[in-house]
Amino acid sequence: MNKRVIETKKLDCEVLVVGGGAAACMAAISAKEQGADVLLVDKGQMGKSGCSPNAHGGMALYHKDPRDGWRVHTEDTLMSGGFLNDQELVRIMTQESRRFVALLERFGCLFDRDEDGTYSVRRFGGHAYARSVFSGDETGHEMMIGLKKEMLRLGVSYMDETMATRIITADGRAVGAACLHIPTGELYYIRAGAVILATACAAGIWPSASERQRGDGFSLALQAGAELVDMEFTQYHPTHAWWPFGVRGSVSEGFRSEGGYLLNSEGERFMERYDPEKKELATRDKVSVCIYKEIRAGRGAAHGGIYASVAHLPSKYVEERLRVIFRKYMSYGYDIRKEPIEVRPRPHYSNGGVKTNTKCQTRIPGLYAAGAVTGGVHGANRLGSNALVDILVFGDIAGREAALEVAAHRKKPPFNESMFGEEVDRISGLMARRPDDPITTPPLRRKHIEMMDKYMGVLRTEEGMRIMQEEVARAKEKDLPRLIVKNQSKVYNYELRDALEMFFRIDVEEMAITAALMRTESRGGHYREDYPVRNDKEWLKNIIFRKKNGELLFELRDVAMPIVKLSDLPEYANSDSPWH
């Protein structure tokens, strides 16, 4: 049919790690420690890509207060997650996490100390105690330095700028992946005994603070036959930079936890009205909905956002404690010590994702997942600074378990030439085709980003979501088949990469909308104006997707509560508020 315009190559390894953020590096390190022959492929550059290097705030893993401990941390996580969390995963995360701060320091990081030499901790919104260890305002950066150095120390093989486009399976097992090497345009067949997905989430399908998270892993897992859970829950970072123009990205939660105010156009600290107790430190979703409501009521800021101010805090304190944000604005000629900035909620994280068990295994043998690409740990809404903990703990488990499984099998999996051939044809076809009424990726992507913002944003309604649902179906049928790649270059063909991402995106949109329409209540990162309250009677359930013979199947599963029962937290149970 199509001429094969792309070159192919083959590689072999025992454990293939897809991704290059903290979850991926941690997984690669722990698999290597077990003696496995590991290869890591990253769409960007290992250690510089993904969200991990720019997580500012902290990692919630140090229960310093004597009253604090894994159980309190678990309860906080569950209340934030609307009790939809997989409690076993939460238990593992809160019990195992503490070791990782010491581990990272052995890799070469150092985290902030108090005068007595113990770790300094910050308190984030929704956490009962201060438990987040940090390094100034650049925790993720410090963490990635250590992980990168440890990768080098152990001599883990990695390929930068290599994008997985399909998980290859044989007899129902994951046996490798097809990966596009962006510097040369070659498609690699990387054969592996086990594949670990650590490609982060899909926040970037919205106009997001985390643009580089394009949902690749969700689609890769779905196509491979794995299950995905809680796809309707999107976490909005309530304070995404909005004005001045050039400043994009999120204004970290540190801004509020260090004492920043949110103000409407009347200068009112409106969070006092919505949540007199927690105010700005209410959970992220709540703050997001409140900001949107203020904006809709006509009390938004001059450019359509809402004001955020630290002008009431001492200058020195702002410079020290909010260094990254301070400096960032300064470089645009904005002095946050004097002037308020404008912020607006923007998607930051997908709470849902690939469903895994306590060994990070998916439904497909040989396919593991760890980090932001997974769902279950955070339920309907992730607590700030729980992500860095999740990715370390489960990255470590995934690497170890995958290595152990490979060691137990030892036999190299067969090459599935026909499946790889299909992928070669798909990509060659995408490059070569010239339909009569072609479209290119940028306008289609722009349209979808804007529509997702409008109809699948913070405030959702049946009517709006139906419009989006129709658009997704239309795009799938009409647009994807005529999507073209004009640029025929082999070297750094970013247009091809973007086009491939477009296919991933449609899968993710479809799951998110289908689940959001189904869930007739509000909870965590899913707020419906037509069903504004939490309905525990009907909706203590997870919506789970999987694909079979090209068809998207879903299933509703009751939530299990083996550790904390709803009735253990009567105050929470008796409320019908979507957020804690």
Binding site: G44, Q45, K48, S49, G50, P53, N54, R98, R99, F100, A102, E105, R106, F107, G108, L110, F111, D112, R113, E115, G117, T118, Y119, S135, E138, G140, H141, E142, K149, E150, L152, R153, G204, P207, S208, E211, R212, R214, P244, F245, G246, V247, R248, G249, V324, K328, S331, Y332, Y334, T440, P442, R446, N487, S489, K490, V491, Y492, N493, Y494, E495
Partner: protein
């Protein structure tokens, strides 16, 4: 990676910028091309490049965080290395790849030797015996002020390679002087409580004496670090080391 920019309906101005383009599949030499981009107050170079992507003009460049924490987007802007995401767009700007590294395509350069050198220099805490990390491991001994100093002086380095690009004494990997980035990284790991390796000897081996104290590295550092100051401190340590002076250097740098 491309990102979503809100539509620019009413630009404050239209700017002309020049970009040095090179396509290894077509061109023998790099060549300048001009582009028109709409400008809105506080727009940066990276948004101009992303705007062009959105128009279907796929100029190759690396970026990720867009908030100067990943160090991917360094390029030469008006002849000086800078982060594209940290440089406000100006009319008539000339944008070209870092000159310290071989160009692959447009603004993308081959930096693969950096991690190789990191590895050769063993830039992780090297110690004979590393206690396993457990839940009960106490924090490594380090004072609050020491950690703050460490963070402000070294650890903030995002490895964007601007300092290497600016250094007149290290204009390629062939130069006897490795360059400021590596000296800073050596000094960084030297501060780590677990590190036992002779970093001063390594600095000498990596050609620290070639630094001419021009402070170009400090001038261009987007994180406001001063590799030059660090080089001076480290160099004074090498000078005090007789074994290094009398040439009893170890064979390998690692």
């Amino acid at each position: 990676m491309t990102c979503y920019l809100p539509p620019i309906d009413k630009p404050d101005a239209i700017y002309n910028i020049q970009i040095l383009r090179f396509d290894p599949e077509k061109d023998r030499y790099p060549h300048w091309e001009s582009y028109q981009v709409p400008f809105v107050r506080t727009m940066t170079v990276i948004e101009a490049l992303e705007y062009l992507w959105d128009q279907g003009e796929y100029i190759a460049f690396r970026s990720n965080c867009r908030e100067f924490t990943c160090g991917s987007c360094a390029m030469e802007i008006n002849g000086k290395p800078a982060l594209a995401c940290d440089t406000l767009l100006e009319d008539g700007m000339r944008i070209e790849p870092l000159s310290r590294f071989p160009v692959i395509k447009d603004l993308v350069v081959d930096t693969s030797t950096v991690p190789e050198r990191f590895k050769a220099l063993k830039l992780w805490p090297e110690c004979k015996h590393r206690e396993p990390a457990t839940k009960d491991s106490p924090p490594l001994p380090a004072a609050k002020s020491a950690i703050e100093h460490y963070r402000e002086t070294y650890s903030r380095c995002i490895e964007c390679y601007s300092c290497l690009d600016a250094c007149p004494q290290s204009d390629s990997d062939e130069s006897p002087y490795f360059g400021p980035l590596y000296m800073l990284q050596l000094a960084r790991v030297m501060e780590h409580p677990l590190d036992e390796k002779d970093r001063v000897a390594q600095a000498a081996e990596a050609g620290i004496s070639h630094c001419i104290n021009c402070y170009e590295c400090a001038n261009v550092c987007p994180m406001n670090l001063s590799p030059a100051t660090i080089v001076n401190e480290l160099r004074s340590k090498t000078i005090r080391r007789l074994d290094l002076l009398f040439g009893r250097r170890r064979k390998e740098v690692g």
